[in-house]
Amino acid sequence: GGAAGAASSSPQVTLTVGDQAKSLQTLLNASGVLKGTSYKVKWAEFEGAAPLFQAVQAGAADTSYAADLPTLQAQSGGVPVKGVAALHNDGSSTGIVVQKNSSVKTVSDLKGKNVVVSSARGSIAEYLLANALQQAGLKYSDVHVQYLLPTQAQAAFTAGKIEAWATFGTYKAAVVDQGARQIVDGTGGRVSGYGFIGAADKALADQGKKAAIKDFLGRLDKALTWSGTHQDAYAQAIEKATGAKAAVAQLIVKQGYGELVPITPAVTKTVQNVADTMHGIKILDPNVNVADSVDTSLFAK
Amino acid sequence: MSSDASSASSGDKSETSSVDIRGLSRTFDGRTVIDDLDLTIAKGEFVALLGHSGCGKSTLLRILAGLDDEISGEVIVPARRSAAFQSPRLMPWLRVWRNVVLGLPGRANRDRALATRYLAEVGIEERAGVWPKTLSGGEAQRVSLARALVREPELLLLDEPFGALDALTRVNAQRLVGELWQRHGCSILLVTHDVEEALLLADRVLVMDAGGIAHEVTVDLPRPRALGSPEFVSLRSRLLGWLGVHDASASETPLERISS
């Protein structure tokens, strides 16, 4: 790439922003923060973290947007991506639910049970399960873990085919609505609550793109701040953009990432703990050195 | 198949007749091929059917076989019929002998000995075990004939069954049909283009034209028949005349016309 100054002002730069299910796109468009960028923003939308990182790996997206664990998984798998900023929420969206008439009242009661984890191996829900079991003094091998995609698991749970389900977001809310009991959730640090905006190594090596990412992070920060103060407008935007029902949109707003934070050593440490735990139950192999997998130079407050 | 058993329909003539056709018509796309045709075949009668190519002989046979029901008119036939079609129509995926006994009831449809006996009758027992695709034209026709004969029907429908056979094979096949007919007393409707064959074998010879039976002659010559007898020669010339080969003199075959 050329000199930083020249590139950042160059209209030629196109930043391909990786996104999941239109989350960032909706937020940034609704808040209007993208007006007047010196670069072009192109959205790359995916159904989940795995295809998004595949696209990053293939060089088809410059940035990623995912929770801590999927990002760690991608890094462990060799996807050339670095965390450049962290997102945070309270972790309440993740939880373990059981059928309303289940004999399972607490996490310790899960011993010997089948527990379904969504979306897949190495998801935040699995971390919650692992962490909760650990805190309850159980080994991870004391439960029998089954993996199901959330839509499938939801159908199975509703039909009474599964007893305990570690899940998240709208899926959790929906079954709780119908009477399912939540025995534990991710608050209180049971999940880290962190997510990452990642940048492909190749994009970071390109001065023009790097500058664009830096600028983009600033705008994303503003957008998140806006979302905290304009919850209704944000929810309406979600409804409009995705067809979600009002209640679901509000839930997304409530449980979504509320702020953009720099990747401080504290963040690194928390996430490293997550990585170590998952490595300990052989879910994350090889382990990731979080401090080496971030680039803190792009976003600071 | 849309033919149902109906004992009620065997009317007044049922004791003596095998086939009763009244006012039969068949139209293909507006072209009437069979037009108000009447025909009765007595039990045990051997009837030969002549007619120009395309005049509707095979169509009539298909109707009698119960394979064509887009007709109008009344057709009564015996329940047990059997046919040799103009083309052999062997099942390509069954060995020759399986083709012969195909459709016989019970265990008989696996009776290779029975099949081989009939194949021997038509002179191709050594080809019993091969695929139909390897047969010559005449061989296939003989398998088809054997298949029709093996099932001892009450009405046997033969559509030019000897057309692809050489002189010797043809004589033998004709003799075989004649013998089976005399032994089992079935009725036979034989389509042929060979006037002499018709006269040698049949009790009655019909000439089809314009969708109906245009001419009919009863051959009451004693059997075995001699080609040279004056009655035979005069019958032949009459039939040839009806078939349009007008200038054939009594002693000439139709081919002679070429030299005239």
């Binding site: - | 109707i63 009564i76 036939v77 013998e179």
Partner: protein, 295 residues
Amino acid sequence: MSVKEYAAPGAVPPKPTAQAAAPPDTRLTIRPARRARRIPRLPRAVRRAIGPVGLLVAWYLGSVTGVLPENVLASPVDVVRQAIELTSSGELPRAIAASGRRAATGFVIGAAIALALSLTAGLFRLGEDVVDASMGMFRAIPWVGLIPLFIVWFGIDETPKIALVALGVTYPLYFNIYGGIRSADSQLVEAARMLGLGRIALIRYVILPSALPGALVGLRYALSTAWLALVFGEQINADAGIGYLMSNAEQYFRTDVIVLCLAVYAILGLLCDFVVRLLSKRLLSWRASFDGDGA
């Protein structure tokens, strides 16, 4: 080779025990075709609607009685409501148009590839050895596993979606056209050669018409595959299309929209089938083949 003397007449078994003893005097009446005599039947279109309409009714009953839980398979009423809403908002027509464009482009490309490959494999022994073995192998590779490769090659815009459709369409067409070519009657091929047909004319007048019935079976399958491939294709960075609409609805939990999409797929399937039926009727009118009993 000498002609054998025929078996003596006496060798004809006097009573082969073969024929079942039907009462010897039974006679039948060949009845004129029923359609000429009975009450006219239900028109074809109505009879073909029995199945789909029956399923619709079963679905409705299932929803009402709770056999099909609402949150798994939305009730027809909800789906119709959703259909009206999305149609008036223009979203559904836009989705169908977007998917249709992709499906059509991909189909044309896939069909061309399938035709070229099946001709190569069908006409030349060497082509058969090289192409056919590879196709058998390729077909077995799950293309979901190839999506990353597609992204590398084709990016994340329209091209990978179209490529997925083309890939999905190629296999059924290839297998069926190739099978059809190989079932061409060798007698007709011989006749054509005797008539001096060159290679091109042989293909045009003999091989392809022979393969046509098989190709139409493949076409039927391929047309529905074209739409189905987009269920996956439109998970890659799409912002319109039925596949996108459906996976989006899955993310946001809209079973009514999901089921609406399924219904749209079903209707598209019926439409494609109808087209293939029409085509078959027109293109195969020369054929004298079994068309089922009257029943």
